[in-house]
């Protein structure tokens, strides 16, 4: 019982334990804040990735997958499947309407030829269409130059169908950063740049068909009107990807249904070989979304099983003019996006490890503070031994002291991290804005008060108060000057980093493990001085000082 009494008294009767608690708290808050934000980014990245590609992706080579409609029907019949959609994934060149020197700008793009009607059941394509007309209060809240204030309501349907309703032409939806026309703002919205608001402009897409034998054919091109733009949430996608209707993609890439000629027969008078059938249309990918609650790995296994049955059926059917590839890649969204996710995961773990080194600082700090306390308390230790306290009992006083500092510091750290993380966007916004006059004026006023204190201390010839008031005057004056000259520093620029908001959820697993580490290292830091205290000879201790 005396250990509890003395630990509490040592804790509450001096300033230094509160400094230790503050230090442990700052260490814990630092780790929890950094890792929470990193985890939040990772979650946002994963969430965005899954929204873009669904749960499972079936991919073939450039030759494509024939009879895909049959396979889609098989997949859609599964109770674990919510939706499945075909697409062609290839690369192309996009000639923009705006100039690049004497010619037009040409950008390399990733082309997704999609079936919008089924894609929306698998991905968030419809929700990702950025340009939507705003009206009423929502429109008034927008920047005066924001195109959404005066958009044609048809723009959404045009995007969803990839068809320009006014002309009936097949349209193209560009990733938000494919063109130079969109300038991202601090709030994550976009304003037209250089006068190039892309919807309504024509662009020319050039793709290169590849034969089943891998030979490159003559490049083919098509002019598309831009019907909308897409913001998926992943910068790499929005910078490169464009969407066109599946039928156009199949035609451009020669993956559409076509006559099959008998080249062994003699050609007719026009030089045409006799038609002996039709080759089926093809796609290069299928995206599958599972019903809610189905794990992607389980869905993947089901898709593989269905595909095996599909290829066996095609193979057996002698009337078929094409064979399904025996080997396709069936990956979950996580496997598919591994290149994107893994670096962020590694970065987070590296941050966790690097910042966890701060525990050593924590333990060192506690050790040095406790060492000083033990030296100061040598006589107390002698007194305690004289009334029968055991060596372990003396040791426990200081271990308990360290434990309390670790617990209190960790609690402070978690609370601090929670406040910072939950308000990180507001804090960021405040840093990004001019400092209010009241803040720098307040700082200067406090600096003036400190200066008066400094003068009074100088008149009384007291060195310590003089030093403290001098420091206060200097720090407050510096803060006031910084606030006065602060004109907004945007640390997290959404035009550079993709996400427009910083994650504001605490990673509680990290928070609790970090708190546990804080407590553990505080006790470790206290253990050495505690052992020293236990080893102090009581007779020497009583004569100490």
């Amino acid at each position: 019982m005396y250990a509890a009494l003395l630990s509490n008294r040592y804790l509450t009767s001096r300033l230094i334990p509160f400094i230790a608690i503050g230090a442990v708290g700052l260490c814990v808050a630092l780790v929890v804040t950094v890792v929470s934000v990193m985890s939040g980014f990772l979650d946002m990245l994963k969430d965005s990735g899954r929204r873009i590609v669904g749960d499972v992706i079936v991919s073939t080579g450039l030759g494509g997958l024939p009879y895909y409609e049959e396979l889609l029907a098989d997949l859609r019949a599964l109770p674990v499947v919510q939706g499945a959609t075909p697409l062609i994934d290839t690369i192309g060149l996009l000639r923009m309407p705006y100039p690049h020197g004497p010619t037009k700008e040409v950008a390399q793009v990733q082309v997704w030829a999609i079936d919008p009607a089924s894609l929306v059941k698998v991905t968030d394509f419809a929700e990702d269409l950025y340009w939507r007309p705003a009206s009423g209060d929502a429109a008034n809240a927008l920047h005066p130059d924001d195109p959404r204030r005066s958009l044609d309501p048809e723009i959404v349907r045009d995007g969803e169908t990839l068809t320009q309703s006014a002309t009936g032409r097949s349209g193209i939806a560009l990733g938000m950063h494919v063109s130079i026309g969109n300038a991202r703002q601090a709030d994550g919205s976009y304003l037209p740049r250089y006068g190039w608001f892309m919807p309504g402009h024509d662009v020319t897409l050039t793709v290169v068909p590849v034969s089943l034998q891998g030979r490159i054919s003559e490049p083919r091109e098509q002019i598309f009107p831009v019907v909308n733009e897409v913001q998926t949430g992943v910068y790499e996608v929005d910078r490169n990807r464009v969407f066109i209707p599946l039928s156009d993609g199949q035609r451009l890439l020669r993956l559409d249904e076509a006559p099959l000629y008998d080249l062994s027969a003699a050609p007719d008078e026009n030089g045409n070989y006799p038609v002996i059938g039709r080759t089926p249309a093809r796609v290069t990918k299928l995206l599958v979304r599972g019903t809610p609650g189905v794990h992607a790995n389980d869905l993947r296994a089901e898709v593989e099983r269905v595909y095996d049955a599909f290829t066996a059926r095609i193979k057996k059917d002698g009337a078929r003019t094409a064979r399904a590839p025996e080997f396709v890649s069936v990956l979950t969204w996580e496997q598919q996006l591994r290149d994107l996710i893994t670096p962020v995961e590694k970065e987070r773990e590296m941050m966790r490890v690097l910042f966890s080194l701060i525990y050593i600082v924590c333990a060192g700090l506690i050790l040095s503070i406790f060492w000083a306390i033990v030296v100061e308390k040598v006589r107390d230790i002698g007194i305690l031994r004289s009334v029968g306290a055991s060596r372990l009992g003396v040791m426990w006083i200081f271990l308990r002291y360290g434990l309390v500092i670790g617990l209190a510091g960790s609690a402070v750290g978690i609370a601090l991290a929670w406040i910072i993380v939950r308000n990180i966007n507001a804090i960021h916004q405040a840093i990004g804005s001019d400092a209010p006059s009241i803040m720098w004026m307040g700082a200067f006023a406090l600096a003036a008060v400190s200066f008066v204190g400094l003068v009074r201390a100088a008149l009384r010839r007291r060195i310590l108060p003089m030093l403290l008031w001098l420091l206060a005057t200097f720090v407050l004056g510096l803060v006031g000057a910084l606030l006065f000259f602060h004109k907004g520093t945007l640390i997290w620029d959404p035009s550079v980093y993709y996400f427009s908001v910083i994650p504001d959820q605490v990673d509680w697993t990290t928070a609790w493990t970090t708190a546990l580490g804080g407590v553990l290292f505080s006790v470790i830091g206290a253990a050495i001085p505690a052992a020293k205290a236990a080893d102090i000879d009581p007779v020497e201790a009583l004569h100490y000082g």
Binding site: M1, Y2, R9, G382, I383, L384, R385, G388, S390
Partner: protein, 240 residues
């Protein structure tokens, strides 16, 4: 007072302190028997080994290897384990020091109760603490300190501090009180008051060993021995 059997005894005790590689002998075979109920004064000049002898009797220190025996109520203390000696210091004896040695962070009451908070676990510890608190209240009240219970040692006079220290030594109702120059840091009037207080306790049956260099103080004891050059001499006696 009728003579009775010794409760605490030092037999040919030797103690040497090491200062680096140099050994400084302090006790050279000191023998002393403390009889139950007596107030024994150990008189000696500075450096004669009085405090060392008291520390050995109180289990705060141990004699040299093969450096004699310390007996308490038929038990050899120098052979006892650490826990046993801790319990001995806690329950069987009480120390009073020249410089009071109160814990500055604790109040008067908490200082006095302190030995009652040592030892025991769970309900036993709580019961001990409760009993010690009641005893501390009673003793402090009898010492005229009931209005000072919540004060810190720094707020007390020297005499008051020493009374708190005596209360602390008595709170676990020890069989022997060991006092090391209990009036050495006090003026003569205050010191006399402290001696009166000790005399009251002796009259109530408490066995006491008091070391001092002051003959007048030693004269208050029922028996006096001299410690000279590390050896106890039994030449002088005094009775109340």
């Amino acid at each position: 007072m009728a003579e009775s059997a010794s409760i605490l005894e030092a037999r040919s005790v030797r103690k040497t302190y090491a200062f680096g590689s140099v050994g400084v002998p302090v006790l050279l075979g000191a023998s002393l028997a403390v009889r139950e109920g007596e107030w024994l004064a150990v008189l000696g000049s500075s450096g004669s080994g009085k405090s060392t002898l008291l520390h050995l009797l109180g289990g705060l220190d141990r004699p040299d290897r093969d450096g004699g025996e310390i007996w308490f109520a038929g038990e050899r203390l120098e052979l006892a384990g650490g826990r046993r000696v801790d319990a001995y210091r806690n329950s069987s004896i009480g120390f009073v020091f020249q410089f009071y040695h109160l814990l500055p962070e604790l109040t008067v009451l908490e200082n006095a109760v302190l030995p009652g908070l040592v030892g025991g676990i769970g309900p036993t510890a709580r019961a001990r603490a409760k009993a010690a608190t009641a005893t501390a209240h009673e003793i402090l009240d009898s010492f005229g300190l009931s209005h000072r219970l919540r004060h810190r040692p720094a707020q007390l006079s020297g005499g008051e501090r020493q009374r708190v220290a005596i209360a602390r030594a008595l709170v676990n109702r020890p069989r022997v009180l060991l006092a090391d120059e209990p009036t050495g840091n006090l003026d003569s009037a205050t010191g006399s008051g402290i001696l009166d207080l000790l005399a009251d306790r002796h009259r109530a049956g408490l066995t006491m060993v008091m070391v001092t260099h002051d003959h007048a103080v030693a004269a208050r004891a029922t028996r006096m021995v001299h410690l000279n050059a590390g050896v106890v001499e039994f030449g002088a006696k005094s009775t109340l």
